[in-house]
Symmetry: D2
Subunit: 343 residues, 4 copies
């Protein structure tokens, strides 16, 4: 099977290519870019030597045609048009959208957080969400989750699936700077971010909030409210999310751990750490895995779950390929690394 | 006035010396250490050239005698004995304890979180806590607050003083590694912490929790519950604390901001950032200041306050000197930097 | 005395302001900027709270008029015009140019490395260069050295002054990213620089080469050839330069050390570390000092000198103020920090 | 084939295991450790989930017996005894020593730099060294090169093989902290290394010098002198080495580039970057590749070659497996990653 990657010069595109090169069932086809079109991939992704000479093409439907899979790693707002034009050309590849366009089900949430017209909803590419594997098997469209919602959902779904937490979640998540993309902005300069932790988008305004609420509400079977604060940490990759909600009355530490152990035991990429061990992003660097730990804070009456993922791997490109594997009828783990690169 | 510094080879001791050298009313006297005694300060604090040749003495009452001020930057559990032996020698210097021994008022809290016998309670060195300046003026004993409690208390006291938040606080705070001290442990190696954010002491077990609760309860006039999660971030200095609590019914964004503006307007070291600007630890690196921002998350119904401090300056050594200034009848800001070192 | 700072929104400008605020004989006057004019300083230098409300003015001669000192932290090529227009207005302030325009004496070197017309030569602001203090006392113009030339010259001048090294120097210097300025470029993004050391401008093309050669040739009394390789290191501040040249025949380790000790013993900001201790940039962070060490590699027959400075302090803004102090008849050390901020 | 890894709890051991898990022809057998024996691998290498439950055994010949390959990642001085005791047991596995014991050919060099008795010399595991592949094919013993010598040798061998440089080399190489190992020492604490570049072992004393000289002398057919300065950079992984030597008379830039292009063109893991592109360690993070660039500094009359490798991959564990592949008659590239993990 042949895959095109649109947006190959960005961070998500680069990670897709790194992983696809190691994928035994997928061959890399056309690479496209926006303003970088015309140059070679080597100018933008010098860590991928075998593809260094590949020329970046324009992101047109004609270039993307003729592939079995099209990965879109584009700025928000472009995916719907690309998909429509591919359909006009009579093409029906598996389209995997790493952008936000098709993640939300509620047009009002889209309007409130993104503005403009809602493009629609595609099957949500988080296989670990209860029932979601069935949705993804054989689909021709995938909306890849946001990196923060991937982390927060995976950290809290076992609690909500088992009815162990009240629907009033606080998420504080530290992310590496690659989550903010490759377009050069003053506050993302190395001089600014090294040696400093900062925050942004505080107070109910971050676009990943409705996505977290949508996921957890499905699991809980009732609305869930999320207060979310993102931190920018001095590292290139990784998300460490602390997620906490009031424990339901009578919850015991043993019951909480049991629920998490049960929910995660057959998940190939989710890993409940041994008791007493807490996640760090280095455990998952470059891997498609998530490292989790959960505890009951009996003094404060809260469930506290902490999760580490690599925002570019499990949080974007790896998650995209995991869902694509399901869509294509391949083994879910095919071509995806379990080991982190540490130290 | 002459000050001795016990524990001069550690990070808190080094920061005390850096600040004291710039203090116009304090002269640096004896420097003492534990296992490093006998060596020179230059071996441990090569960033302080003028003191490089100073020999580190043993931490004995005789060595600490004859000073107007004694700063103790010792491991927990040693301060009471040092103070007692100084008294036996007929000495009554201002003793400023950077350790935890005398911070807590409740012996049960001490027993639960630290174990062993409670040494007692000294005036708490956080001048910004309402009413605390009066307590500190002229005192001969100061218990310097912990770094995390400094951050969390300063972030939330305006909300509790004005009755704008429910007493159920979630604090997630990222700290630089210097907060963990200088004793070499595998998880503090550069190879482990660079490129990674991790967590530890999750779920109601961190020793700084009762201190946060004690402070906020005083301001609120009622018990306050704190859920606290510390993060270890890949930087040497700085704490960025996100603090959130349910808003009291009817709270408006304007009323919240007004309360913070009013509480902070005469504080020499606390700074409410302009609306839309969020704290980063780089703003306060090496400074005795705190940078704050607050917002009302109307969707989630929560007050969210974020604060940045330097854990070694405002969070330890700077805060210690600020309180000492009050105790000694000096201007509170004397010798303390307001500017951060950035980028 | 009142000082204007042109280029106040950049990194050099910010460091000038941080230091000037602590300077007892200089008051801060007008702040100017290029594209940031009209905004406040707080938007760009949030670590300087007392100046946060200051409005950035346009960089015009009228705005810069009426000051005793004008610090220029502008992109190369603008200083000559500013100086000329100030003279037309009848102004004769001390002008301290942090840019490259007036550093080189040889118009051919200027043409070869910078291109365009050579603006001229101003007294070179490196007081430690033998004989240079006399040149700087009372001058009305100062060309502040480049950061790398400051490091390389201070590391090697004692060897050349004493005739202990052959004039064939290799300099490899790692710099923090602030040396590359604040204008956002893709290769300076935090995501790119964290976790990575890279190089650039290799092979005799870096603009700081003729400046190093000019300085060392003066000391040696004969031409000196410099091979220079700059490294970009994952830190915001600091330069660590390794400088090596063949030892002259018969040189002994003791004679080499003696020469350095003698050359540095009265220098207020240069510090020869104890034998066996090697420089690290953290020793000088935020300080106007340089930490040096030198050794004789007897196997390879080479002098090896290593120096650490803060590129923004001793390497730019601190060095500028040090020379300005001399020009203004003030004590050379006035207002300049000797202590680094560590860890 | 089954491989044992002795020293599995350290950084080299962890990297061996990460790579061996992806190796299609090698199965992981016994894991051994020193003071960590008795614990599980997961306590030390939490980034390797599939091996987390493996118990670390004592490093005894009995435990290492019964394997086709034994990787030794031990402190220096232990390998000879382990090999001898395996022979006494009648075992003759391929032994791959990641330590220094068998790298040097000259007992006097061993005595001078390491002290004690010279254990002997094993085939040197750097396949790219001219003629070395033939030596490694079918061997039962491999001495894995040091990380710095790997970098310096690969950067300079094309110049010496073609007679383009004088035998007087200056190497300045910045390394990530993992090169210093996992044993906790104060100067390796995150608080010390973050935000700082330092140096150590300057002036002809670093143990990797005789190894560099041995390699380059073989290629040059005559003695080569190396001045080496190692830098400690604030990153976990990676070496960026700048290597320079006087150019032989008449050398042109074109001839230099041609020689490098010719020497590297069939090398599967060495990559000469396009002209104008310079190496950064991020290009090779986690990969077994080296990124090189070379130029002629005509002003200074020097060849300047710069190379980036991952010290743990190509510099240790990846290089070890590459040589083992040759020894075992497998394809040289088998199981070894070419892509870096970036950003």
């Amino acid at each position: 099977m042949k895959a095109a990657v649109a947006g190959a010069s960005g961070y998500a595109g680069g990670e897709l290519l790194r992983l696809l090169q190691a994928h035994p069932a997928i061959e890399i086809g056309a690479l496209t870019a926006g303003s970088s079109a015309g140059g070679t991939l080597g100018e933008h992704q010098p860590h991928l030597p075998a593809l260094a000479g590949r020329v970046l093409l324009d992101t047109t439907p004609e270039v993307l045609a003729g592939h079995d899979i099209v990965f879109l790693a584009l700025p928000h707002g472009h995916s719907a048009a690309v998909a429509a034009r591919l359909a006009e050309l009579g093409e029906d590849p598996l389209i995997v959208d790493c952008g936000a366009d098709f993640r939300l089900e509620d047009p009002a949430a889209w309007a409130g957080f993104y503005g403009g017209e809602h493009a629609g909803t595609w099957p949500y590419g988080l296989p670990e969400l209860p029932g979601q594997r069935e949705v993804l098997r054989g689909t021709r469209r995938i909306a890849v989750p946001g990196c923060y919602p991937t982390a927060a959902t995976l950290a809290m779904f076992p609690a909500f699936a088992a009815g162990l937490a009240e629907p009033d979640v606080v998420v504080v998540a530290a992310s590496g700077t690659s989550g903010a993309g490759r377009s050069p902005k003053p506050h993302l300069l190395g001089s600014e971010v090294m040696g400093s932790v900062g925050t942004y988008g505080v107070g109910g305004v971050h676009r990943h909030i409705p996505e977290m609420e949508q996921n957890l509400a499905k699991v809980a079977g009732a609305p869930v409210r999320v207060s979310f604060t993102p931190l920018l940490a001095p590292m290139s990759r990784g998300i460490l999310a602390t997620c906490t909600a009031p424990a339901t009355p009578g919850l015991t530490a043993a019951a909480l751990r049991e629920a998490y152990a049960a929910a995660l035991k057959d998940e190939p990429f989710l890993r409940l750490l041994p008791e007493g061990t807490w996640p760090a992003t280095a455990m998952t660097l470059g891997a498609n895995t998530a490292a989790l730990q959960v505890t009951l804070d009996e003094r404060a009456g809260r469930v506290v779950a902490v999760i580490a993922i690599d925002n570019l791997t499990k949080g974007t490109a790896g998650g995209a390929i995991q869902s694509a594997n399901l869509a294509l009828g391949l083994a879910e783990e095919l071509g995806l690394p379990h080991n982190g690169v540490a130290p």
